[in-house]
């Protein structure tokens, strides 16, 4: 009875609603397409640029989701996370650690720093409830200033830091920081097969631990756990077998994996996972979902053999590990939101008073959300820098918050609501625009010096436009809410 109103909605108004709800995304898709058409550059250049920028930036953007849902708005304060990452890098480079070991050491160093910064930031946010965004923005500037003092004077000036490679005048770090001899590509260079093995081992350990600790209560849950354990072990063995096959070894054993291969593997995994869910775990999967999975997989694999697309796909190679980390960030966001902690965060985000009266410690939850965001941002910045390989010591962190916020807003997120999908779409659209808009401008104006200006213009413009469009959306909802007739629910079977 309740669903009457929903089923009555005609197809036309459904489309209209869908268009209206996604108007921010649609606007930026249109903009991107227009720029691509004007820019007059090869698609494979644009695609490879976007893919490499995506790998660099996605994690930073994903760090914004948790605080957004906890009611803190767009956390411009992730700048402090980036600062924690950069400080950790100075030390690791100074001590001469290289490769993935150096990267892990960076993680180890930056995490407690980011936790401390996040905690302080969280306390500040709790004191300025309702204006977290402007607080975060200004705090970002402030932290930026302190950080500059640190890099330009305190290192070497106060803290003894004797490293002629890094110091210019006896104190203060060199302006450009080169990572090529230390952690550049340390994460990117891990091969697909290694990532796969790590994943399998992780699942095996997790399931073993959960079985030993007696976390799984029901027989069904234990059975599931056992199946996961065995299949992961099989997967692990399989990865060694496959590496013995020459063709496959070159496909999955190198530092980069070609995009067309990635897509095909992803699609096969997608279909298998749906089938496994249905038949092995006996979960409630609808027939149409299974058909959908098969059709999508067939379509994508089919398209990847179309020559024009194939050429583009073959020309791009991505880093398996970085993309795996991005997936891990997404997974983490989803997982944490499905815990008691996550539910508390969403409650606090929706209404602090109601949350308080339900016995939730509002201030504590907000601090935890800020800490998580700051730590994710620190890791995100490390991924960014190891891919870039060189950075501007003094001002690399300055625009981190701004770019990340702009990207997630383009993806259709609002100040109150954001999810992984919006973050991913946002990064793709924002960086497409970032790549093509200066090219398009150069084509039109005939002057390439303008490109940096165009980028800043895009960034601020994007934030303003998407905030304005979102306000439009909200107003509309308010009007609809006011007109919602009570009478049609009267008929409900109360």
């Amino acid at each position: 009875m309740k669903n009457n109103a929903e089923t009555k909605i005609s197809f036309g108004s459904y489309v209209k609603n869908a268009l209206f709800n996604n108007k921010v995304i649609i606007l930026f898709i249109v903009l991107c397409v227009a720029c691509i058409m004007t820019a007059n550059t090869s698609m494979s250049y644009i695609a490879s640029e976007v893919f490499s920028r995506f790998g660099r930036n996605a994690c930073l953007v994903l760090a914004l989701i948790i605080p957004c849902l906890a009611g803190l708005g767009m956390n411009f304060g992730i700048v402090v996370g980036a600062i924690a990452a950069q400080i950790a890098i100075f030390f690791v480079v100074h001590w001469g650690f290289t490769g993935i070991g150096g990267f892990l050491l960076c993680t180890l160093l930056s995490t407690p720093m980011a936790l401390l910064f996040g905690w302080l930031l969280g306390i500040l946010y709790n004191k300025t409830k309702g204006s977290e965004m402007v607080t975060g923005l200004i705090l970002g500037f402030f932290a930026d200033g302190v950080y500059r003092l640190f890099t330009l004077y305190i290192i070497g000036g106060v803290i003894p830091y004797d490293d002629p490679n890094l110091l210019d005048r006896g104190f203060g770090l060199r302006n450009a920081f080169d990572l090529s001899d230390s952690i550049k590509y340390s994460l990117d260079d891990i091969s697909f097969v290694t990532v796969f093995r790590i994943l399998m081992i992780f699942i095996i350990v997790l399931q073993l631990v959960s079985l030993v600790m007696g976390v799984k209560k029901t027989a069904e849950a234990r059975r599931e756990s056992l199946i996961k354990l065995v299949s992961s072990a099989v997967g692990l063995v399989l990865s060694f077998v496959l590496m013995a096959v020459p063709g496959v070894a070159s496909m999955i054993g190198g530092t980069r994996i070609i995009l067309s291969d990635t897509l095909r593997i992803a699609m096969i995994v997608y279909v298998i996972s749906v089938l496994v869910k249905k038949f092995v775990f006996r979960k409630d999967v609808k027939g149409e979902d299974m058909i959908k999975a098969v059709v999508i997989a067939a379509l994508v694999i089919g398209l990847s053999y179309v020559p024009a697309i194939r050429n583009i796909l073959r020309s791009i190679s991505i880093s398996a590990c970085t993309y795996a980390v991005i997936c891990l960030f997404c997974f983490f966001n989803n997982w944490i939101l499905d815990t008691k902690l996550g539910q508390d965060m969403r409650t606090v985000g929706q209404n602090r008073i109601v949350a308080g009266s339900a016995g939730i410690n509002v201030d504590r939850i907000r601090i935890i959300a800020t800490c998580i965001s700051t730590v994710l941002a620190a890791w995100g910045q490390m991924i960014y820098l190891q891919n870039l390989g060189t950075f501007n010591t003094v001002q690399q962190q300055s625009n981190v918050g701004l770019y990340a916020v702009a990207a997630i807003l383009v993806g259709g997120a609002s100040v109150q609501k954001a999810n992984n999908k919006q973050a991913i779409i946002g990064v793709v659209l924002f960086h497409t625009l970032f790549v093509v808009a200066p090219l398009a401008a150069t084509q039109i104006i005939g002057d390439s010096a303008i490109s940096e200006y165009i980028r800043m213009f895009i960034c601020y413009g994007v934030i303003a436009v998407s905030l304005a469009m979102h306000a439009w959306k909200k107003k509309d909802v308010a009007v609809k809410g006011a007109q919602a007739p009570i009478s049609n629910v009267e008929a409900g079977e109360l």
Partner: protein
Amino acid sequence: MSAEYVVKMQNISKEFSGNRVLKDVSLAVKPGEIHALMGENGAGKSTLMNILFGMPAIWNTGGYEGSIEIDGQEVKIDSPQKAMECGIGMVHQEFMLIPGFTATENIKLGREDTVPTVASRLLGRSLEELDRKKMASDARKAMDTIGLGIDENTKVGGLPVGYMQFIEIAREIDKTGMKLLIFDEPTAVLTESEAERLLRTMKVIASQGIAIIFITHRIDEVIEVADSMTILRDGTFIDRIETKDTTAARIAELMIGRKVEKLVDETEDHRELNKDDVILKLRDYRVDMPGETVRGVDLDVIRGEILGIGGLAGQGKIGIPNGILGLYDSSGTIVFDGESIDTKKLGDALKKQIVFVSEDRRGVGLLLEESIEQNIVFTATQVENKFLKNYGFIKQYDHAAAKKHAEDMIRDLDIRCVGPEQPVGSLSGGNQQKVCLARALTLNSKLLIVSEPTRGIDIGAKKLVLELLVKLNRERGLTIIVVSSELNELRSLSDRIAIVSDGRVSGILRPDDSDADFGLAMSGVKVGGADDGKA
């Protein structure tokens, strides 16, 4: 059951900064009983319940005297959490719901069922995963108990108010060990049919052995569902009676009681009121003001009179002036002095010289940061271009004239302040009210509507404000409508009193009509009145 009463409050007293709001009040409820707690606004019902629920507002102001027993055991309830542990639940008047969450999530708010994970074993319980299946089935069970048929996965946001209330009730029922459920004026925001459903549900809950305390001032509802009731008046305990031993009229009389104090001294009355000289005529007048809906009022206001509009909170009396001034959407005919008023146009009533002093003094009435002078003249500068020097194409504020006027007003109305420059935010409630009146008087007005003129004002200032209103009426011949929830006040100064109940005028009474008549009119029973009388 070991004890006869599930809750027993004895000799409860409470002071708020020297002001005694409860004196030796007792309350006792048996298991499975629906017990009504009745009284006028300000009788102390909410304070008593806040004590029982351990609200911080009580403990921050010095606690209470007296004892509370739950199931025969004396307990000290010092926080809402403690109250919940004792098996006391409260359905709030303002809903504690989250619109973006589903019914299940709201019912389980703060008490989610979880299953442990590896991470939770290592890092603490808050990382346990939600057990959505169990949450949904529990919620379903609670909703079925009270007959709420909606899907448990529906988002609460779009639901009508009545459903939200039911979800709140479901949440309380879902808590284990619930013994006593407090309903704080639950029917105030509901439509008639929703209210009926709610009353039926209350009976269902009570039949399962849960005691219910039902705060209300609607006598008909009490007669319908309650087994017994406690009546409070002015913070004192009046009586505990069984419903079957009493009548509506008797309850009304007990609630209102006889008050002898006269708030306004007699003044000479030279007025001659002509019953046919109607200055304001309302016909089938409706206002859509949340919580104060007006549902079809027919009312005539006679030139030169003081008309009181009374009634209990939430019945619609406040909606009447707010609708006329165009602050909320309204429909029906409003004829003022021969012209109809377009309420769609904000300010139309003001242009036609109806001046309104709002009940929301600090919110709508005053610019708290601004000076007394600014507050007194700003409407006049906006509407009537007073206190402006006109240079043709540009207008400039006339400081000297405004200051002189403000000083005159301060003297005339006896506003206690250091001077016209003092910000009104730092004045006392009574003086703020006088500033509001001063502003109203600065405008040329034919009709002055004053809403809740004495809310939040101490007794001395109250008298001054009321006398000022009478003086304005007698000396300037100004027609005044006073909207107030304090019946005593209306009876001291009005010529006629219209009682509003459930959005309609249930009776027009003379100030000296009996308490029982007023009581019945307030509870919505139509009574004959002053229409054929003096006015």
